[in-house]
Amino acid sequence: MNLPVRLRPYGFIAVLLVAWYIAIHRQAAHLLPDPIAVVGAFIELAQRGLLFKYIVASLFRVTWGFFLAAFTAIPLGLAIGWYRRSEMALNPLIQIFRPISPLAWIPIAILWFGVGDTAAIFLIFLASFLPLTLTAMNAVESIPAVYINAGRNFGLSTASLVYRILYPAVVPQLIIGLRITLGIAWLVVVAAEMIAVNSGLGFLIVDARNAGNRYDLVVAGMVMIGLIGLMLDTGMRSLENIRSLRWGYSED
């Protein structure tokens, strides 16, 4: 095959789809719907107006949870990193909370907020909060001392030191942290929606199984989750191409 390099991934996907189709039809057991059934499920969801509605519902929760976490965790993490000696006290606490899966909070989220958007948003918030705090802490701690010293040398006040040195110096690392965390948030929203709400892509998947084993709808939901996850990641990644940030990603 002499496909141009750019097209090769698509070529490979096409080959896999064909292989999927053939494999399903060569054996009797119903392990998976075939790709054509999945396309049919997409059309059905779109016609019933559910596809768009569920995508919006999921994105709504992720956006709220993720942004609430970003607006609280990043300033907190920057402050902890900046005053690292006095605030070492917080570190053990963070390390204890970190291994607790956000999903372990589902019962508590439902207890506090009931079944609904708030519980799901709370779970996304929890899932994003600690990774973002840690990213911001590490980003501050890895600022080379020369930048801080140079800033002090030019007579900057503490406020302008934060605004003119600390902030620009951490942005490239923060963007990486935000990208990874958004990925986590997207994983968690699906799980949260399976239990805590009755809309969204995660709900679509459990609901399709419970209401008559509609595995074509299940797989359609999975494909949709994958595509949106890819889109979110690509969007965040494009920030890394901003010219004034590129220094943070070079090998040098």
Binding site: N149, A150, I165, R246
Partner: protein, 262 residues
């Protein structure tokens, strides 16, 4: 006769910086390491001083102490009669080229310390120093897009733009290739003669110190002491194959205990 000696006499009178009995002891894991041992030094206004010593001898610590980034364990540093308690925009420290801010363009870096000036004045100064260090055409470039020598010149320009009366340079050309290093020395001398700053320059390169300095302060290995201060009485531009140059250079080589052979 009196006319010829007048500038030298006038220069000798005014002391810019006085370090008096500087000692520095670092404590780490309960162990004490003495880095500087009772160093006293007077620097005259407009003078170019090189602190010369082997790597790790403590000359950078001495420079950081004089610039106010470190407080000595004992002793005092005074500049213009005022005790140094911290860094100050009147005296700028130039790190190796890694000190430029990578998130700012050439213009942004040079204008960094000019936040108190009006927009017009800031732009005028940026333009002037871009030209002084030969970075025309790179005003909008980011440091990542510049060579090592250009980044170094950019940092010197950023320092000069705030019109300090002293510059502290910590092995500024150490990371450059030898040809660029020679060019940069010439540039620095040109700027020094044009701008009349007092310069304290740390280096481990004997040739470099003899080419640049009015006086070379030769320091011993840790804990650093001043071994000897060598007056370099050769006018600029210096002929680096003249008998006097070689004599002074060889004197320092001998002082440090290095043979003339490789």
């Amino acid at each position: 006769m009196s006319q010829a000696s007048a500038p030298v006499a006038a220069r000798a009178v005014k002391t810019k910086l006085r370090a008096d009995g500087i000692s520095m002891v670092f404590k780490r894991d309960g162990k004490e390491t003495s880095v500087l041992d009772n160093i006293s030094l007077d620097v005259r206004e407009g003078e170019f001083i090189c602190l010369l010593g082997p790597s790790g001898c403590g000359k950078s610590t001495m420079l950081n102490t004089m610039a106010g980034f470190l407080s000595p364990t004992s002793g005092t540093v005074t500049i213009d009669g005022e005790a140094v308690t911290g860094p100050d925009p009147r005296r700028i420290f130039v790190f190796q080229e890694r000190g430029v801010f990578p998130w700012l363009t050439v213009e942004g870096n040079i204008g960094f310390g000019l936040f108190k000036l009006s927009k017009e004045e800031r732009e005028r100064r940026i333009g002037y120093y871009v030209k002084l260090v030969g970075l025309q055409g790179f005003e909008k470039a980011y440091p990542q897009e510049l060579s090592g020598g250009m980044k170094q010149r950019l940092e010197v320009a950023r320092a000069l733009a705030v019109n300090p009366d002293m510059l502290f340079l910590d092995e500024p050309f150490g990371a450059l290739d030898s040809i660029t290093r020679l060019i940069m020395r010439g540039e620095l001398l040109r700027i020094w003669e044009a701008e009349k700053k007092t310069i304290i320059f740390v280096t481990h390169d004997i040739e470099e110190s003899v080419q640049l300095a009015d006086r070379v302060v030769v320091m011993s290995a840790r804990p650093a002491k001043i071994q000897r201060i060598v007056e370099i009485d050769i006018p600029h531009p210096r002929d680096i194959s003249s008998a006097r140059y070689l004599e002074l250079r060889d004197g320092i080589f001998e002082q440090i205990g290095l043979a003339h052979k490789v």
